[in-house]
């Protein structure tokens, strides 16, 4: 079973009211160092079998057509979650 992760963020020029509210709450809890917060969405799409280039292509198409609205959001990542994790571990010299 493979899993594709899709990250969607509000466009930079669109005010993100939810992120703004979170940013307002952080200092009240002592987290004064964060000057701005933007809140997006993460989708995990599962497939039977491995994540092939075709699967990634289909996920990218779904991300553009359904998972995001291009008027207000950008798709910032479409990736094979396991491959990503493996790459991260390798880069940290832990694999």
């Amino acid at each position: 079973m493979g899993r594709v992760v899709v990250d969607v963020m509000p466009k930079p020029e669109i005010l993100d009211p939810q992120g703004k509210a979170v940013a307002g709450a952080l200092p009240r809890l002592g987290f004064g160092q964060f000057t701005s917060v933007r809140q997006g969405k993460r989708f995990e799409l599962e497939v039977d079998g491995p994540v092939t280039p075709e699967v990634l292509e289909a996920a990218a198409a779904a991300a553009e057509q359904v998972l995001s609205n291009p008027v207000i959001e950008d798709v910032v990542r479409v990736a094979d979650i396991e491959a990503d994790a493996a790459a991260t571990v390798a880069s940290q010299g832990l694999a």
């Binding site: 020029e13 669109i14 005010l15 009211p17 939810q18 359904v66 609205n69 008027v71 207000i72």
Partner: protein
């Protein structure tokens, strides 16, 4: 008698009010079901307010793929009058029948109030019983009511006279350029955030010139389309 379809999605709230508005205006309301790719031969369609599919993903994003919407999009392209109210407006933008999108109110609060709007286009199928420049009062109640679009789209809407309603007084939700409602180029598809179907009968509407709860400005949306249909 003209037949006006009112679509019910899972989570639609105001379909009965919209049907009542149609009836009070002198039309025959026809219930349309989201899962049926069938418009039952209606002469116009209303997409009412509510929280279809719980606003999951984005408001209106999942309703757009309902079987009935394929028919609505086709028929709208051929000139069928379509009115999207609140969540219905969100469905129309997600279906690309109208440009732009809605995000959360700037205040992050759910709003419910009587709202004054200025009518800026009285040539659409749904506004011809209004005067251009007229102020009307109907309820506004929403959470994701902040209309956004890029500057080019906004300039285009303004240049082509496609801003149909603008919020009068304080902008309630941060909508770009105080836009409350817009139309497509042909003028048959109109979407707005406030709710005309809640201001159609004396005793139940907003306060009006003739006393408390006497406002019936919303009724003219429905009489407008009925007049448009008989030519």
């Amino acid at each position: 008698m003209s037949r006006i379809g009112v679509v019910t999605f899972p989570g639609t709230l105001d379909d009965r009010d919209a049907a009542r508005g149609v009836r009070l205006a002198g039309g025959e309301p026809v219930a349309l079901w989201h899962a049926d790719a069938d418009l039952k031969g209606v002469d116009a369609v209303v997409l009412p307010g509510g929280f279809s599919y719980g606003d999951y993903l984005r408001a209106g994003a999942i309703s757009r793929f309902a079987p009935v919407m394929g028919e609505v999009v086709d028929a709208a392209g051929k000139g069928l009058p379509v009115l999207g109210i609140c969540n219905g407006f969100q469905v129309l933008t997600e279906a690309h029948l109208l440009p732009g999108s809605m995000i959360k109110n700037e205040s992050l609060h759910f709003l419910c109030r009587e709202q004054v709007l200025t009518v800026e286009n009285s040539d659409t199928a749904w506004t011809r019983e209004f005067e251009r420049g007229e102020d009307i009062t109907i309820p506004l109640k929403n959470q994701d009511g902040q209309y956004v679009a890029d500057e080019r789209t906004l300039d285009e809407l303004e240049g082509e006279g496609r801003v149909v309603f603008r919020y009068q007084g304080d902008n309630p939700n941060g909508s770009r350029r105080d836009i409350a409602g817009i139309t497509n180029a042909a003028g048959n598809v109109v979407g707005l955030m406030p709710h005309p179907e809640h201001a159609v009968e004396r005793g139940f509407g907003p306060d009006g010139a003739q006393g408390p709860r006497s406002g019936t400005d919303g009724l003219r949306f429905f009489t407008s389309v009925l007049r448009a249909l008989v030519g």
